[in-house]
């Protein structure tokens, strides 16, 4: 047993997620990610059960841990009550906190999630906000969303929202004192520290890759991690 294994095993989700895997492969059979990517949740559990720190470190630097969609289908079907999907959450936390996430194409994407959903939580009090869901970044949202964004105040008013106004209601402006509480919760519980580490390691990696990483979304490194699909991730048809 090594330091890395001990670190993972200290997380309650690890305790809940890994009991006694019999390697039946049911989790892989039911897994939507395993159908699409080169991915087998059973193999994740096998590495963890080995308690071999070298193998665990390799896993934390790999593309593999980023393929799961956290749908938790594996939890329903495991005949031994394991939760590979929960183990993934523990592995991803460690990969970010140790800076290993920047060693994989899929892992590097965490900066894009931090700079969008992560920062929107602190800025608006919501995980998503209309002004930030840009049609050019979301062509799949289609012309109706494009039209909505163009007329957002009137559309939200028509549909009964309290958009950017005070008081209760849909997409109301979250009062500043409540946003400050969220900020203090992030400071107290480790989210602010994780954000700092994601930024720090991403800057190091951007420099290593010879790319510029400015603030916000309109810079070379952000665009690269948001769109790059240079490695072979998916299964053969």
């Amino acid at each position: 047993m090594g330091e890395l294994y001990d670190r993972l095993a200290a997380d309650v989700r690890f305790v809940e997620g890994l009991k006694a895997c019999i390697h039946c492969g049911t989790c892989t059979a039911i897994c939507p990610a395993a159908e699409f990517y080169n991915y087998q949740p059973r193999q994740i559990v096998e590495v963890l059960q080995s308690r071999d720190d070298a193998r665990i470190e390799e896993l934390l630097k790999s593309e593999t841990i980023w393929y799961c969609g956290e749908c938790m289908s594996c939890v329903t079907r495991c005949p031994r009550g394991n939760a590979p999907g929960l183990l993934i959450t523990v592995l991803r936390a460690a990969s970010q906190d140790l800076g290993y996430f920047v060693e994989s194409e899929k892992g590097r994407q965490q900066l894009a999630i931090k700079r969008t959903v992560g920062e929107w939580i602190l800025k608006y009090g919501y995980c998503l906000f209309p002004a930030e869901i840009r049609p050019e970044m979301h062509p799949e949202q289609g012309p109706v969303w494009e039209w909505e964004v163009e007329h957002i105040d009137a559309v939200m008013n028509r549909l009964g929202a309290n958009y950017k106004k005070t008081g209760p209601g849909i997409l109301r402006k979250i009062p500043p004192e409540d946003l400050e509480e969220i900020g203090r919760i992030f400071d107290e519980t480790g989210a602010a520290e994780r954000f700092r580490k994601i930024e720090e390691h991403s800057r190091r990696k951007a420099e290593e890759m010879g790319m510029t990483l400015g603030e916000g979304l309109d810079n070379e490194y952000f665009r690269h991690i948001y769109t790059a699909n240079e490695k072979r991730h998916t299964r053969e048809p």
Binding site: A33, S73, P175, G190
Partner: protein, 359 residues
């Protein structure tokens, strides 16, 4: 045949749903993409059923999308949820209902974690107190808003002006039900009917006159996958999952899809558009898509509400074919008007997917 055993198993998947005095929290996805559904939930509960549903303006996201895309630590999300519970406690309520399935799954996961690890709950209480000065009671009853509509489905049917019946043939309409993964996959006992045979949406469709389609990929995920959708490079995963479902359900000719998860409702709607643009595929009749509805939207149709008050104009897959089958009257010309009746222009027409622009 002895059916006692089967009855006992079914008992494990019954769920107590509060009847009144709800502390209501909203969904990030629905507020952005289907605001009319949340408006309709309150209209049904407060105006039709005369129930006490309270919203505290200080509540925020639970951070669930951030948690499941792994940028927000579990410790943080637990404390964010504890803050929501504190607002409920301060407001004098104990029945907590949430509009979001990701949130419902997260609240359930957190309450179960605290049950198994009381020291974690104590630690989170400390975090919350230091960060906000707040304390909290845990909810006496936790439900998703689809549970609440399920509980009142018979009252809605009784007050309804329409049924899920094709007015041209007199036959029941056929619906696909899609349950959000985080409703009951991790904790089957917390959902009506569990994870394998969830009844929460089936009960609505059947009591409102329709029939439910059973199809091979009925339980497959819609493909949201959090980071698999949020990042453009990963969206092939999300699209492939939804396509697998559409291909599987299409031979059964569904009249509509009913979903209880904010993300699923949006993706099953939007990916039909994307597939039509990418591959020229349309899954409904005569170039239409299969309309995708939230449970409040379907309830609103049964109750005869104006479809544009329900927010059906912001669906990318038009809902008119379903409205025409049911016979719900609507004014095509007011589809894209604002609150004062002024035109707001209209969305561009997709290349293949049939669109109802009403100009």
């Amino acid at each position: 045949m002895k059916i006692e055993g089967k009855r006992n198993i079914w008992n494990d998947y019954q769920k107590e749903i509060a009847a009144d005095r709800f502390f209501y929290v909203r969904s990030c996805v629905r507020q952005n993409f289907f605001p009319g559904s949340e408006k309709t939930f309150l209209r049904i509960m407060q105006e039709l059923l005369q129930r006490d549903v309270y919203e505290n303006a200080a509540h925020t996201t639970c951070s669930g999308i951030g948690y499941h895309s792994d940028v927000v630590p579990f410790e943080t999300s637990m404390t964010m949820v504890a803050r929501q519970f504190a607002l409920m406690t301060e407001s004098g309520y104990e029945n907590f209902t949430t509009s979001c399935i990701t949130s419902f799954g997260l609240y359930t996961e957190i309450l179960e974690t605290w049950r198994h690890f009381p020291e974690v709950e104590s630690r989170v209480r400390g975090h919350l107190l230091r960060a906000t000065g707040r304390t909290f009671n845990k909810p006496a009853n936790l439900s998703h808003t689809s549970d609440v509509i399920f509980r009142f489905r018979k009252e809605i049917a009784a007050a309804g002006k329409f049924r899920l019946v094709n007015r041209h043939t007199g036959m029941p309409l056929h619906g696909v039900e899609h349950i959000g993964c985080h409703y009951a996959r991790m904790f089957p006992g917390k959902g009506i009917g569990g994870a394998e045979y969830p009844y929460v949406l089936v009960g609505m469709i059947e009591d409102w006159g329709g029939e439910v389609i059973d199809y091979p990929e009925r339980r497959h995920c819609c493909g949201f996958g959090f980071r698999q959708y949020l990042i453009q490079a990963n969206r092939g995963y999300s699209l492939a999952c939804s396509k697998k479902k559409f291909d599987s359900m299409a031979p059964y000719k569904p009249d509509f899809i009913l979903a209880n998860c904010p993300g699923c409702s949006m993706f099953l709607d939007r990916w039909q558009y994307a597939l039509s643009e990418m591959e020229g595929i349309t899954y409904g009749e005569n170039g239409s898509g299969i309309p995708v509805l939230t449970y409040e939207e379907l309830a609103g149709i049964i109750l005869g509400y104006d479809p544009w008050d329900l927010g059906l104009q912001v669906h990318q897959v038009p809902v008119e074919p379903l409205l025409d089958k049911i016979g719900l009257p609507y004014d095509p010309g007011s589809k894209f008007l604002d609150q004062e009746g002024k035109p707001m222009g209209q969305p561009k027409e997709p290349t293949h997917l049939k669109f109802y622009n009403h100009e």
